[in-house]
Protein backbone atom coordinates (compact mmCIF):
# COMPACT_ATOMS: atom_id res chain seq x y z
CA UNK A 1 0.00 0.00 0.00
CA UNK A 2 2.90 2.31 0.82
CA UNK A 3 6.28 1.70 -0.75
CA UNK A 4 9.41 3.77 -0.37
CA UNK A 5 12.53 2.86 -2.30
CA UNK A 6 15.78 4.59 -1.34
CA UNK A 7 14.03 7.89 -0.79
CA UNK A 8 16.02 10.98 0.06
CA UNK A 9 15.05 14.57 0.63
CA UNK A 10 17.54 17.33 1.21
CA UNK A 11 17.12 21.04 1.79
CA UNK A 12 19.59 23.80 1.17
CA UNK A 13 19.61 26.21 4.05
CA UNK A 14 21.34 29.53 4.58
CA UNK A 15 22.59 31.90 1.91
CA UNK A 16 25.74 32.18 -0.15
CA UNK A 17 28.80 31.44 1.97
CA UNK A 18 26.86 29.89 4.85
CA UNK A 19 24.98 27.61 2.45
CA UNK A 20 24.79 23.96 3.36
CA UNK A 21 22.71 20.94 2.53
CA UNK A 22 20.60 19.27 5.20
CA UNK A 23 19.49 15.69 4.56
CA UNK A 24 16.10 15.47 6.25
CA UNK A 25 15.58 11.96 4.92
CA UNK A 26 18.25 9.76 3.36
CA UNK A 27 18.12 6.40 1.67
CA UNK A 28 14.83 5.48 3.33
CA UNK A 29 13.13 2.25 2.21
CA UNK A 30 10.12 0.51 3.71
CA UNK A 31 6.84 -1.15 2.75
CA UNK A 32 3.51 -1.01 4.49
CA UNK A 33 0.99 -3.66 3.42
CA UNK A 34 -2.76 -3.13 3.17
CA UNK A 35 -4.50 -3.35 6.54
CA UNK A 36 -1.41 -2.71 8.65
CA UNK A 37 -1.38 -0.32 11.61
CA UNK A 38 2.08 1.21 11.79
CA UNK A 39 3.54 3.63 14.29
CA UNK A 40 6.19 5.96 12.98
CA UNK A 41 8.44 7.22 15.75
CA UNK A 42 11.41 9.52 15.92
CA UNK A 43 12.86 12.45 17.81
CA UNK A 44 12.11 16.02 16.68
CA UNK A 45 13.77 16.79 13.40
CA UNK A 46 14.36 13.11 12.57
CA UNK A 47 12.44 13.32 9.30
CA UNK A 48 8.97 12.11 10.33
CA UNK A 49 7.00 15.03 8.98
CA UNK A 50 9.16 15.19 5.87
CA UNK A 51 8.30 11.54 5.20
CA UNK A 52 4.59 12.18 5.74
CA UNK A 53 4.71 15.17 3.41
CA UNK A 54 6.38 13.12 0.70
CA UNK A 55 3.82 10.31 1.06
CA UNK A 56 0.96 12.74 0.63
CA UNK A 57 2.47 14.58 -2.35
CA UNK A 58 3.11 17.86 -0.52
CA UNK A 59 6.87 17.56 -0.95
CA UNK A 60 8.72 16.03 -3.86
CA UNK A 61 11.57 13.67 -2.88
CA UNK A 62 15.02 14.66 -4.15
CA UNK A 63 15.90 11.02 -4.84
CA UNK A 64 14.35 7.56 -4.82
CA UNK A 65 10.78 6.58 -5.58
CA UNK A 66 7.50 6.43 -3.68
CA UNK A 67 4.24 4.58 -4.40
CA UNK A 68 1.15 5.11 -2.31
CA UNK A 69 -1.98 3.14 -3.27
CA UNK A 70 -0.15 2.38 -6.52
CA UNK A 71 0.45 6.04 -7.39
CA UNK A 72 3.43 8.38 -7.48
CA UNK A 73 2.37 11.06 -4.94
CA UNK A 74 4.13 13.98 -6.61
CA UNK A 75 2.92 13.31 -10.12
CA UNK A 76 -0.61 12.14 -9.30
CA UNK A 77 -1.25 14.28 -6.24
CA UNK A 78 -4.91 15.11 -6.87
CA UNK A 79 -5.80 11.51 -7.82
CA UNK A 80 -4.02 10.21 -4.75
CA UNK A 81 -5.86 12.73 -2.56
CA UNK A 82 -9.09 10.84 -3.24
CA UNK A 83 -7.59 7.58 -1.97
CA UNK A 84 -5.87 8.74 1.18
CA UNK A 85 -6.95 10.63 4.26
CA UNK A 86 -4.55 12.98 6.04
CA UNK A 87 -4.83 14.45 9.53
CA UNK A 88 -2.37 16.99 10.91
CA UNK A 89 -2.70 17.18 14.68
CA UNK A 90 -1.00 20.58 14.73
CA UNK A 91 -3.30 22.31 12.30
CA UNK A 92 -6.79 21.90 10.97
CA UNK A 93 -7.68 21.17 7.36
CA UNK A 94 -11.22 22.44 7.99
CA UNK A 95 -12.54 25.88 7.07
CA UNK A 96 -12.13 28.12 10.09
CA UNK A 97 -15.33 30.17 9.75
CA UNK A 98 -17.66 27.42 8.58
CA UNK A 99 -19.81 25.20 10.77
CA UNK A 100 -18.48 21.65 10.84
CA UNK A 101 -21.45 20.41 8.81
CA UNK A 102 -20.73 22.88 5.98
CA UNK A 103 -17.06 21.91 5.94
CA UNK A 104 -18.11 18.28 5.49
CA UNK A 105 -20.55 19.21 2.74
CA UNK A 106 -17.76 21.08 0.95
CA UNK A 107 -15.49 18.07 1.27
CA UNK A 108 -18.22 15.92 -0.22
CA UNK A 109 -18.17 18.15 -3.31
CA UNK A 110 -14.39 18.41 -3.51
CA UNK A 111 -13.92 14.65 -3.26
CA UNK A 112 -17.00 13.97 -5.41
CA UNK A 113 -18.49 11.62 -2.82
CA UNK A 114 -21.85 10.14 -3.74
CA UNK A 115 -24.70 11.74 -1.72
CA UNK A 116 -25.94 8.40 -0.34
CA UNK A 117 -22.50 7.14 0.69
CA UNK A 118 -21.80 10.51 2.26
CA UNK A 119 -24.98 10.45 4.39
CA UNK A 120 -24.28 6.92 5.56
CA UNK A 121 -20.65 7.58 6.45
CA UNK A 122 -21.39 10.87 8.17
CA UNK A 123 -24.09 9.25 10.31
CA UNK A 124 -21.70 6.47 11.22
CA UNK A 125 -18.79 8.79 12.04
CA UNK A 126 -21.05 11.20 13.92
CA UNK A 127 -22.08 8.36 16.17
CA UNK A 128 -18.62 6.81 16.59
CA UNK A 129 -16.88 10.10 17.28
CA UNK A 130 -19.75 11.79 19.10
CA UNK A 131 -20.02 14.82 16.83
CA UNK A 132 -23.76 15.36 17.17
CA UNK A 133 -23.45 18.13 19.76
CA UNK A 134 -21.32 20.48 17.64
CA UNK A 135 -22.02 19.79 13.95
CA UNK A 136 -23.50 23.29 13.65
CA UNK A 137 -20.64 25.10 15.44
CA UNK A 138 -18.06 27.08 13.41
CA UNK A 139 -14.69 25.36 13.53
CA UNK A 140 -13.00 28.31 15.25
CA UNK A 141 -15.28 27.85 18.29
CA UNK A 142 -14.56 24.15 18.74
CA UNK A 143 -12.35 22.84 21.52
CA UNK A 144 -9.16 21.08 20.47
CA UNK A 145 -10.67 17.65 21.11
CA UNK A 146 -13.80 18.46 19.14
CA UNK A 147 -11.77 19.93 16.29
CA UNK A 148 -9.57 16.87 16.12
CA UNK A 149 -12.62 14.61 15.88
CA UNK A 150 -13.91 16.88 13.13
CA UNK A 151 -10.59 16.65 11.30
CA UNK A 152 -10.54 12.86 11.52
CA UNK A 153 -14.12 12.72 10.19
CA UNK A 154 -13.16 15.04 7.32
CA UNK A 155 -10.27 12.76 6.41
CA UNK A 156 -12.52 9.68 6.30
CA UNK A 157 -15.66 10.90 4.50
CA UNK A 158 -14.34 9.73 1.14
CA UNK A 159 -13.53 6.29 2.60
CA UNK A 160 -9.79 6.30 1.91
CA UNK A 161 -7.75 3.11 1.74
CA UNK A 162 -4.92 4.72 3.69
CA UNK A 163 -5.13 7.07 6.67
CA UNK A 164 -2.04 9.08 7.53
CA UNK A 165 -2.06 10.79 10.91
CA UNK A 166 0.60 13.24 12.02
CA UNK A 167 0.41 13.48 15.83
CA UNK A 168 -3.37 13.00 16.09
CA UNK A 169 -3.44 12.87 19.89
CA UNK A 170 -1.25 15.90 20.58
CA UNK A 171 -2.80 18.08 23.27
CA UNK A 172 -5.79 15.80 23.88
CA UNK A 173 -6.95 14.95 27.41
CA UNK A 174 -6.96 11.39 28.71
CA UNK A 175 -10.58 10.70 27.84
CA UNK A 176 -10.43 12.19 24.33
CA UNK A 177 -7.20 10.34 23.68
CA UNK A 178 -8.74 7.02 24.69
CA UNK A 179 -11.79 7.67 22.52
CA UNK A 180 -9.57 8.52 19.54
CA UNK A 181 -7.51 5.36 20.01
CA UNK A 182 -10.62 3.16 20.24
CA UNK A 183 -11.95 4.70 17.10
CA UNK A 184 -8.73 4.17 15.14
CA UNK A 185 -8.53 0.54 16.24
CA UNK A 186 -12.08 -0.10 15.10
CA UNK A 187 -11.46 1.63 11.80
CA UNK A 188 -8.44 -0.55 11.15
CA UNK A 189 -10.12 -3.76 12.28
CA UNK A 190 -13.55 -3.32 10.72
CA UNK A 191 -12.85 -1.43 7.50
CA UNK A 192 -9.32 -2.69 6.97
CA UNK A 193 -8.04 0.85 6.52
CA UNK A 194 -4.25 1.01 6.46
CA UNK A 195 -3.07 3.42 9.14
CA UNK A 196 0.27 5.15 9.45
CA UNK A 197 0.62 7.33 12.52
CA UNK A 198 3.37 9.53 13.89
CA UNK A 199 3.38 10.41 17.54
CA UNK A 200 5.49 11.30 20.52
CA UNK A 201 2.99 9.61 22.79
CA UNK A 202 4.24 6.09 23.47
CA UNK A 203 0.84 5.21 24.89
CA UNK A 204 -0.50 5.55 21.34
CA UNK A 205 2.14 3.13 20.12
CA UNK A 206 1.55 0.57 22.87
CA UNK A 207 -2.23 0.66 22.52
CA UNK A 208 -2.46 0.82 18.75
CA UNK A 209 0.45 -0.36 16.69
CA UNK A 210 1.39 -3.88 15.80
CA UNK A 211 4.42 -2.61 13.97
CA UNK A 212 6.77 0.21 14.88
CA UNK A 213 9.23 2.04 12.65
CA UNK A 214 11.72 4.35 14.24
CA UNK A 215 13.47 6.99 12.19
CA UNK A 216 16.54 8.90 13.33
CA UNK A 217 18.80 11.25 11.38
CA UNK A 218 16.71 10.60 8.29
CA UNK A 219 16.94 6.81 8.11
CA UNK A 220 15.30 3.82 9.76
CA UNK A 221 16.86 2.88 13.09
CA UNK A 222 14.31 0.18 13.90
CA UNK A 223 11.50 -1.66 12.13
CA UNK A 224 9.63 -4.48 13.85
CA UNK A 225 6.89 -5.48 16.25
CA UNK A 226 6.30 -3.93 19.63
CA UNK A 227 7.87 -6.96 21.31
CA UNK A 228 10.95 -6.71 19.10
CA UNK A 229 11.20 -3.08 20.17
CA UNK A 230 11.12 -4.01 23.84
CA UNK A 231 13.68 -6.73 23.23
CA UNK A 232 16.24 -4.17 21.97
CA UNK A 233 16.72 -3.04 25.56
CA UNK A 234 15.90 -5.93 27.91
CA UNK A 235 17.04 -4.06 31.03
CA UNK A 236 14.69 -1.10 30.59
CA UNK A 237 11.40 -1.15 32.47
CA UNK A 238 9.26 1.29 30.51
CA UNK A 239 8.66 1.94 26.85
CA UNK A 240 9.91 5.50 27.37
CA UNK A 241 13.32 4.22 28.42
CA UNK A 242 13.50 1.74 25.55
CA UNK A 243 12.79 4.44 23.00
CA UNK A 244 15.05 6.98 24.70
CA UNK A 245 17.92 4.53 24.35
CA UNK A 246 17.27 4.11 20.65
CA UNK A 247 17.03 7.89 20.15
CA UNK A 248 20.35 8.53 21.85
CA UNK A 249 22.12 5.60 20.22
Amino acid sequence: MIELDRVGRSFTVGRRRAKKTVHAVRDLSFRVEAGEFVGYLGPNGAGKSTTIKMLTGILAPTSGSIRVAGLDPTRRRTVLARRIGVVFGQRTTLWWDLPLRDSFELIRHLYKVDQKDFRRRLTELTELLGLAGFLGTPVRQLSLGQRMRGDVTAALLHDPAVLVLDEPTIGLDVVSKAAMRDFLLRLNAERGTTVLLTTHDLGDIEKLCRRVMLIDHGSLAFDGTLDDLRATAPGEASMEDVVARLYSA
Binding site: F88, T92, L98
Partner: protein, 261 residues
Protein backbone atom coordinates in the same frame (compact mmCIF):
# COMPACT_ATOMS: atom_id res chain seq x y z
CA UNK B 1 -13.80 25.97 -12.53
CA UNK B 2 -16.43 23.95 -10.67
CA UNK B 3 -14.15 23.91 -7.64
CA UNK B 4 -13.64 27.66 -7.93
CA UNK B 5 -17.36 28.41 -7.95
CA UNK B 6 -18.00 25.98 -5.11
CA UNK B 7 -15.33 27.50 -2.89
CA UNK B 8 -16.25 31.05 -3.86
CA UNK B 9 -19.83 30.40 -2.82
CA UNK B 10 -18.64 28.94 0.47
CA UNK B 11 -16.46 31.95 1.25
CA UNK B 12 -19.28 34.29 0.33
CA UNK B 13 -21.58 32.55 2.77
CA UNK B 14 -18.90 32.59 5.46
CA UNK B 15 -18.27 36.32 4.96
CA UNK B 16 -22.00 37.02 4.96
CA UNK B 17 -21.90 36.27 8.69
CA UNK B 18 -20.51 39.76 9.11
CA UNK B 19 -22.49 41.94 6.67
CA UNK B 20 -21.56 45.27 8.29
CA UNK B 21 -17.79 45.20 7.73
CA UNK B 22 -18.41 43.74 4.30
CA UNK B 23 -20.46 46.66 3.09
CA UNK B 24 -18.04 49.13 4.67
CA UNK B 25 -15.09 47.52 2.91
CA UNK B 26 -16.91 47.54 -0.41
CA UNK B 27 -17.81 51.23 -0.07
CA UNK B 28 -14.30 51.97 1.18
CA UNK B 29 -12.62 50.39 -1.80
CA UNK B 30 -15.03 52.23 -4.11
CA UNK B 31 -14.25 55.56 -2.42
CA UNK B 32 -10.47 55.10 -2.26
CA UNK B 33 -10.36 54.33 -5.94
CA UNK B 34 -12.66 57.22 -6.73
CA UNK B 35 -9.87 59.44 -5.37
CA UNK B 36 -7.75 58.31 -8.35
CA UNK B 37 -10.31 59.86 -10.64
CA UNK B 38 -10.34 63.04 -8.57
CA UNK B 39 -6.58 63.23 -9.11
CA UNK B 40 -7.02 62.98 -12.88
CA UNK B 41 -9.71 65.67 -12.77
CA UNK B 42 -7.37 67.96 -10.80
CA UNK B 43 -4.67 67.48 -13.43
CA UNK B 44 -7.11 68.44 -16.17
CA UNK B 45 -8.08 71.58 -14.23
CA UNK B 46 -4.61 72.86 -15.08
CA UNK B 47 -3.99 71.41 -18.48
CA UNK B 48 -6.09 70.45 -21.47
CA UNK B 49 -4.23 67.25 -22.18
CA UNK B 50 -2.09 64.59 -20.56
CA UNK B 51 0.62 63.15 -22.79
CA UNK B 52 -1.38 64.36 -25.78
CA UNK B 53 -4.63 62.77 -24.63
CA UNK B 54 -7.86 64.53 -23.60
CA UNK B 55 -9.89 63.96 -20.45
CA UNK B 56 -12.32 61.43 -21.92
CA UNK B 57 -9.46 59.49 -23.49
CA UNK B 58 -7.54 59.34 -20.22
CA UNK B 59 -10.73 58.22 -18.46
CA UNK B 60 -11.09 55.52 -21.09
CA UNK B 61 -7.53 54.29 -20.43
CA UNK B 62 -8.14 54.47 -16.69
CA UNK B 63 -11.45 52.62 -16.94
CA UNK B 64 -10.17 49.76 -19.09
CA UNK B 65 -7.02 49.24 -17.04
CA UNK B 66 -8.99 49.54 -13.79
CA UNK B 67 -11.63 47.08 -14.91
CA UNK B 68 -9.07 44.51 -16.05
CA UNK B 69 -7.06 44.89 -12.88
CA UNK B 70 -10.07 44.81 -10.55
CA UNK B 71 -11.45 41.64 -12.15
CA UNK B 72 -8.05 39.93 -12.21
CA UNK B 73 -7.53 40.94 -8.59
CA UNK B 74 -10.99 39.72 -7.62
CA UNK B 75 -10.56 36.35 -9.31
CA UNK B 76 -6.84 35.64 -8.87
CA UNK B 77 -5.29 38.37 -6.71
CA UNK B 78 -4.98 36.09 -3.71
CA UNK B 79 -2.33 34.02 -5.42
CA UNK B 80 0.29 36.58 -4.42
CA UNK B 81 -0.46 35.92 -0.74
CA UNK B 82 1.25 32.58 -1.11
CA UNK B 83 4.06 33.32 1.32
CA UNK B 84 1.53 33.83 4.16
CA UNK B 85 -0.02 30.46 3.43
CA UNK B 86 3.37 28.80 3.24
CA UNK B 87 4.44 30.24 6.57
CA UNK B 88 1.20 29.38 8.36
CA UNK B 89 1.21 25.88 6.90
CA UNK B 90 -2.21 26.27 5.30
CA UNK B 91 -0.66 25.71 1.87
CA UNK B 92 0.09 22.13 2.98
CA UNK B 93 -3.57 21.54 3.68
CA UNK B 94 -4.45 22.79 0.19
CA UNK B 95 -2.03 20.25 -1.26
CA UNK B 96 -3.81 17.31 0.37
CA UNK B 97 -7.11 18.16 -1.35
CA UNK B 98 -8.07 16.66 -4.69
CA UNK B 99 -8.13 20.07 -6.37
CA UNK B 100 -5.55 22.30 -7.96
CA UNK B 101 -3.58 24.32 -5.43
CA UNK B 102 -3.76 27.30 -7.77
CA UNK B 103 -7.55 27.30 -7.78
CA UNK B 104 -7.69 26.95 -4.02
CA UNK B 105 -5.20 29.80 -3.59
CA UNK B 106 -7.01 32.07 -6.03
CA UNK B 107 -10.40 31.64 -4.41
CA UNK B 108 -9.23 31.69 -0.79
CA UNK B 109 -11.25 34.20 1.28
CA UNK B 110 -13.20 35.25 -1.81
CA UNK B 111 -15.36 38.15 -0.76
CA UNK B 112 -17.80 40.57 -2.33
CA UNK B 113 -15.86 43.57 -1.07
CA UNK B 114 -13.65 42.95 -4.07
CA UNK B 115 -16.56 44.12 -6.24
CA UNK B 116 -16.05 47.70 -5.03
CA UNK B 117 -13.14 48.46 -7.28
CA UNK B 118 -14.69 46.69 -10.25
CA UNK B 119 -17.80 48.84 -9.89
CA UNK B 120 -15.75 52.03 -9.67
CA UNK B 121 -13.76 51.21 -12.83
CA UNK B 122 -16.93 50.24 -14.68
CA UNK B 123 -18.53 53.57 -13.76
CA UNK B 124 -15.51 55.53 -15.04
CA UNK B 125 -15.52 53.57 -18.29
CA UNK B 126 -19.26 54.06 -18.70
CA UNK B 127 -18.84 57.83 -18.23
CA UNK B 128 -15.94 58.04 -20.68
CA UNK B 129 -17.41 55.98 -23.53
CA UNK B 130 -20.29 58.25 -24.69
CA UNK B 131 -17.95 61.27 -24.79
CA UNK B 132 -15.54 59.58 -27.16
CA UNK B 133 -18.01 59.15 -30.01
CA UNK B 134 -16.34 55.92 -31.11
CA UNK B 135 -16.98 54.25 -34.45
CA UNK B 136 -18.68 50.84 -34.22
CA UNK B 137 -15.91 49.44 -36.37
CA UNK B 138 -13.52 50.03 -33.47
CA UNK B 139 -15.69 49.31 -30.41
CA UNK B 140 -15.34 45.52 -30.72
CA UNK B 141 -11.81 45.83 -29.43
CA UNK B 142 -12.98 47.03 -25.98
CA UNK B 143 -14.27 43.74 -24.51
CA UNK B 144 -11.30 41.95 -26.06
CA UNK B 145 -8.80 44.34 -24.50
CA UNK B 146 -10.43 44.07 -21.07
CA UNK B 147 -10.28 40.29 -21.33
CA UNK B 148 -6.62 40.33 -22.40
CA UNK B 149 -5.93 42.78 -19.58
CA UNK B 150 -7.46 40.35 -17.06
CA UNK B 151 -5.28 37.54 -18.39
CA UNK B 152 -2.14 39.71 -18.29
CA UNK B 153 -2.74 40.93 -14.73
CA UNK B 154 -3.72 37.44 -13.57
CA UNK B 155 -0.47 36.14 -15.06
CA UNK B 156 1.51 38.82 -13.26
CA UNK B 157 -0.22 37.84 -9.99
CA UNK B 158 0.63 34.21 -10.68
CA UNK B 159 4.26 35.03 -11.46
CA UNK B 160 4.38 36.98 -8.21
CA UNK B 161 2.98 33.96 -6.37
CA UNK B 162 5.36 31.55 -8.09
CA UNK B 163 8.28 33.71 -7.07
CA UNK B 164 7.29 33.29 -3.43
CA UNK B 165 8.04 29.58 -3.60
CA UNK B 166 11.66 30.70 -3.73
CA UNK B 167 11.57 33.97 -1.81
CA UNK B 168 9.03 33.53 0.95
CA UNK B 169 9.87 36.95 2.30
CA UNK B 170 9.39 39.02 -0.82
CA UNK B 171 5.74 39.53 -1.72
CA UNK B 172 6.59 43.22 -2.16
CA UNK B 173 8.69 42.50 -5.24
CA UNK B 174 5.62 41.06 -6.89
CA UNK B 175 3.52 44.04 -5.81
CA UNK B 176 5.81 46.33 -7.80
CA UNK B 177 4.58 44.59 -10.93
CA UNK B 178 0.92 44.02 -10.01
CA UNK B 179 -0.11 47.23 -8.28
CA UNK B 180 2.71 49.09 -10.07
CA UNK B 181 1.46 47.77 -13.39
CA UNK B 182 -2.07 48.82 -12.56
CA UNK B 183 -1.01 52.38 -11.74
CA UNK B 184 1.25 52.58 -14.77
CA UNK B 185 -1.47 51.62 -17.22
CA UNK B 186 -4.00 54.06 -15.76
CA UNK B 187 -2.34 56.90 -17.66
CA UNK B 188 -1.38 57.26 -21.32
CA UNK B 189 2.03 55.66 -21.68
CA UNK B 190 3.06 58.79 -23.61
CA UNK B 191 3.67 60.51 -20.26
CA UNK B 192 6.52 58.08 -19.59
CA UNK B 193 9.98 57.80 -21.16
CA UNK B 194 10.44 55.74 -24.28
CA UNK B 195 12.79 53.23 -22.55
CA UNK B 196 10.11 52.39 -19.98
CA UNK B 197 7.48 52.02 -22.68
CA UNK B 198 9.69 49.66 -24.69
CA UNK B 199 10.19 47.67 -21.48
CA UNK B 200 6.47 47.28 -20.82
CA UNK B 201 5.88 46.45 -24.48
CA UNK B 202 8.52 43.84 -25.09
CA UNK B 203 9.59 42.58 -21.64
CA UNK B 204 6.64 42.68 -19.21
CA UNK B 205 3.80 43.16 -21.72
CA UNK B 206 1.78 45.65 -19.69
CA UNK B 207 1.39 47.93 -22.72
CA UNK B 208 -1.01 45.32 -24.10
CA UNK B 209 -3.38 45.65 -21.16
CA UNK B 210 -4.88 48.79 -22.65
CA UNK B 211 -2.35 51.14 -24.28
CA UNK B 212 -1.78 49.41 -27.61
CA UNK B 213 -5.41 48.32 -28.21
CA UNK B 214 -6.59 51.76 -27.05
CA UNK B 215 -4.51 53.40 -29.76
CA UNK B 216 -6.64 51.40 -32.18
CA UNK B 217 -9.95 52.15 -30.45
CA UNK B 218 -9.16 55.87 -30.23
CA UNK B 219 -7.58 55.83 -33.71
CA UNK B 220 -4.39 57.57 -32.59
CA UNK B 221 -0.84 57.69 -33.87
CA UNK B 222 1.62 55.81 -31.67
CA UNK B 223 3.68 58.60 -30.00
CA UNK B 224 6.64 56.22 -29.90
CA UNK B 225 6.32 55.19 -33.54
CA UNK B 226 6.02 51.47 -32.79
CA UNK B 227 4.60 49.22 -35.54
CA UNK B 228 0.85 49.41 -36.24
CA UNK B 229 0.25 45.66 -35.86
CA UNK B 230 1.15 45.82 -32.16
CA UNK B 231 -2.35 47.22 -31.58
CA UNK B 232 -3.75 43.78 -32.34
CA UNK B 233 -1.07 41.88 -30.46
CA UNK B 234 -2.82 41.81 -27.05
CA UNK B 235 -4.23 38.27 -27.36
CA UNK B 236 -0.91 36.60 -28.26
CA UNK B 237 0.89 38.69 -25.65
CA UNK B 238 -1.66 37.64 -22.99
CA UNK B 239 -1.46 33.96 -23.97
CA UNK B 240 2.35 34.01 -23.99
CA UNK B 241 2.52 35.61 -20.54
CA UNK B 242 -0.09 33.19 -19.18
CA UNK B 243 2.00 30.26 -20.45
CA UNK B 244 5.13 31.63 -18.77
CA UNK B 245 3.16 32.14 -15.53
CA UNK B 246 1.75 28.59 -15.63
CA UNK B 247 5.21 27.11 -16.14
CA UNK B 248 6.64 29.21 -13.32
CA UNK B 249 3.84 28.09 -10.97
CA UNK B 250 4.42 24.42 -11.79
CA UNK B 251 8.14 24.78 -11.30
CA UNK B 252 7.45 26.51 -7.99
CA UNK B 253 5.20 23.71 -6.71
CA UNK B 254 7.89 21.19 -7.57
CA UNK B 255 10.45 23.13 -5.56
CA UNK B 256 8.09 23.70 -2.64
CA UNK B 257 9.81 23.05 0.70
CA UNK B 258 6.98 23.40 3.22
CA UNK B 259 7.89 24.42 6.79
CA UNK B 260 9.00 22.56 9.89
CA UNK B 261 6.61 20.39 11.95
Amino acid sequence: MRTYLLLAWTWLRASAQYPGPLIMMMLGSFAVNALDVAAILVIFEHTGSLGGFGLAEVMFLYGTSGLSFALADMLFGNVDRLSQHIRSGSFDTMLIRPASAFTQMAVDRFSVHRFGRTAQAAVVLALALPQLGLAWSRVWMIPLMVLCGIVIFASVFTLGGAMQFLLTNAPEVANAFTYGGSTLTQYPLSVYGSELVKGVTFVVPLAFVNWQPALFVLDREDPFGLPYWLRFASPPAAVALAAVAALAWRAGIRRYRSTGS
